[in-house]
Symmetry: C2
Subunit: 461 residues, 2 copies
């Protein structure tokens, strides 16, 4: 164990959870393996590390982040709270249930800053290529130091992949889109609603991106938002100014035509058509190949790659639970790599995966999905010492959140919830979300007065 | 020689020149090595293969193309003509000296379609990682088949890198740009002027991209174009509506501030700040590390990598000459790999490179640069059987083109030149460039009448 070498790719919420899991062990006075973590970006936080850039970054690598200005949590913070570091621990004041991005990023950093995690991370360093060396039973990983424009290799006994799956856009082609003359982008490249003020925009897709970008644009003064769905509408009670239509059939110039025979001219099209799981640095026999779902095939307990059990994936599931799910996975992975949790032989692992996949297939509603992921996390946590918390109550909060959104998509962020970690009841925010145009940490925490001139621009309901 | 294996990465103008060079040899009845070519895109033509997409492509790879709608050649076609396949051979009619993109793409394809080149190319396949295997004296190259999501490896005696260097944006940071609320893009992601109609736009940079995007936007009805230069202005006689200012110091909201103390509000910023030479698939000891220049350090005759002479780079120079320079390089590389051209030992190669680099350093004017690249091509062509052509006359045309642009940036594309390959004098185009809004092949060749409604939108001078 002493000489076990572990490589972690990515220092976002998953990679940081992995580092935190080892740190917790070390703090108990136990020996831990040799750990190295590599992060493509120049800071930790993964998706929460906002950038103004789109396309490729300073060093020509595809941009990781899909965050935009004015992004506020779209689920209650009480559902994603760390069991070992609460919001009260961090902010020492009660806050609302739906903080903006900067506030959540601050929270993530708070926990990890208390540790020595940063010393394990090499930033601006991208994994280029992985070979599994049969003779050594190790992975050779080639890394690229983007700042120096140099490459180097490392050997690891276990490789932990925490590179996320909301970074590589899935962008379908529609006939005529090539001649659309307005701006065309994927949600991944959306950086804020401002440039769409007064415009008529089309969002293609019906998941979180479409819902949230649509509402943000409405809030910040877009003239009209049209959301085009493939199978089912989001089906909220939309305000005037947002409407849903069936799928685009084609474009002719700047006009989009829809399956129901209607058409409309647009200034911009934003593809909210999801993301691909993409691992360009892995040979295909180590690649997780899956669509976005709650239980991807090929990883035992959602973590251990079934065809090579020295390879670990974190956070590859579709997510109701986020930060605390990554923790549960990281604690499980740590105990597995350290030899405390044994995994059964391959065919039994396959059976277990199949059983869970069948469970997902049998889910009918969003509430079923919440229950499914709740059970998954309960199963993961059982053999570890990750601090226990009331998962049933979190599941209840998720279900209540689903209803809140259905009831009013513009006000659900004004609701408050109670922490299952320390029973802190959130505080109603000083400003209703629809009236709050400043998403800075300062404004959120210190109650800087709102800018009345800015406010006058809002489509306030 | 019979078993020599050659891998070519990229099927753009450089890779196609390499295939064409081998084909020319084969047509003479001579044996040629085993050749395989891999192309990331779904078609050949490299930069000339236009896509509406930006950011990453269908399979999540960074988009190669930087082409936009309404892109017309910015140099006389007589300067880039193939010596073995003239414009007259292809079009069988005289055309103007400055054709639009689609017409040039058609020309490139015309030559290569006469060969069996396509059978050597595997499309939608990206080079992931290259190792030089000392024991075998070969390259192991791992490729990724994007459609199948599978990887495979190949071994080559020579590796030819023709992946271009106008694909990976160089995008500097300016203070405050993160809060600019309009659209921000690099020239690489510019797909046409239409979305800027009536807008005030800022172009940062002073090379071809800034010049051409500025003029295109002016032509298509942008309200104002401001070009911000770092060192020297482009210094054309700009029409009202385009002006040059010194470098941006910072942004505050949507206002840019310049070094001369002036400032202006903008709707959009387009970074025309150049490109990086980027080879993510190569270990750093095989990577060409250079800025954009006429004679990059480290490649003998601009082609043979000095630290490993089994590695060939094509088209890595800054370019006055394009297609016929790639040909000269490909013919040289072919004869070198086939053992007909010997290269001296390393220190002598270094001396030769240093001599050429000094030559470039001694150039003072654009005309000097033209002469320098002319001599480079003459040197390359001498030992090969690439059809000889009058390089001095091409150099003269380049110099004349430089003057034309200086004289009038809006009308230089209406000038005509005479082919040095077959003495064909170009024809004045049916429509002055500033009045021509349709850049299709059909309109160009068949004289479809111009759309008068479209014409009324033009900022005609």
């Amino acid at each position: 164990m002493k000489n076990l070498k572990i490589g972690i790719i990515g220092a976002g919420p998953s990679g940081l959870a992995m580092l935190r899991a080892f740190e917790a062990e070390e703090k108990k006075g136990n020996p831990i393996p040799e750990i190295k973590c590599y992060e493509k970006q120049d800071n930790w936080g993964g998706m929460w590390n906002y950038t103004w850039r789109t396309g490729v970054g300073k060093y020509g690598e595809p941009i990781h982040g899909s965050m935009y200005k004015y992004l506020w949590s779209n689920g209650p913070k009480e559902c994603l709270e760390f069991a070992d570091y609460t919001f009260s621990d961090h902010f020492e004041q009660t806050i609302s249930s739906y903080p903006p991005r900067e506030v959540l990023f601050d929270y993530i950093q708070g926990r990890i800053r208390q540790s020595n995690a940063r010393k394990y991370i090499q930033f601006n360093t991208v994994a280029r290529w992985v070979d599994y060396i049969e003779g050594k039973k190790q992975f050779r990983v080639v890394f690229d130091n983007l700042v120096e424009n140099t490459t180097f290799e490392e050997y690891f006994d276990y490789l932990v992949v925490g590179t996320g799956h909301f970074s590589t856009p899935n962008m379908p082609y529609f006939k005529g889109i090539d001649n659309f003359s307005g701006s065309i982008m994927h949600a991944h490249d959306f950086r804020g609603a401002d440039q769409f003020t007064g415009k008529d925009i089309l969002l293609v897709g019906s998941s979180y991106s479409a819902e949230d970008i649509g509402v943000q644009c409405y809030k910040h003064g877009t003239n009209s938002v049209t959301i085009s769905y493939r199978t089912n509408p989001i089906d909220c009670k939309w305000p005037d100014g947002i409407k849903e239509v069936p799928l685009v059939t084609h474009f002719d110039g700047d006009t989009a035509y829809f399956k129901d025979g209607t058409s409309k001219r647009f200034d911009a099209v934003i593809f909210c058509t999801g993301y691909q799981h993409k691992f360009p640095f892995l040979p295909d026999n180590l690649r997780l190949k899956t669509k976005n779902c709650l239980y991807p095939d090929g990883i035992y307990k959602g973590v251990v790659y079934n065809d090579n059990t020295q390879l670990i994936y974190l956070g590859m599931q579709d997510q109701y639970y986020t930060f605390n799910m990554f923790d549960a996975q990281a604690w499980f992975a740590r105990d597995y790599m350290m030899g405390r949790i044994a995994v059964p032989e391959k065919s039994l692992r396959e059976e277990d995966i199949a059983k869970w996949m069948e469970g997902e297939a049998n889910c009918g509603t969003s509430c079923d999905h919440v229950d499914f992921q709740t059970e998954y996390i309960r199963d993961l946590m059982a053999p570890t010492d990750y601090p226990d918390f009331n998962l049933d109550k979190v599941a209840e909060m998720f279900k209540s959140w689903l209803l809140d959104k259905e009831e009013n998509i513009l006000t659900y962020r004004d609701k408050i919830y109670t922490s299952v970690m320390d029973n802190t009841k959130a505080e109603k925010h000083h400003t209703p979300w629809m009236k709050e145009l400043d998403d800075s940490l300062e404004r959120y925490l210190e109650e800087i007065p709102a800018d009345e001139k800015e406010l006058s621009k809002v489509n306030y309901y």
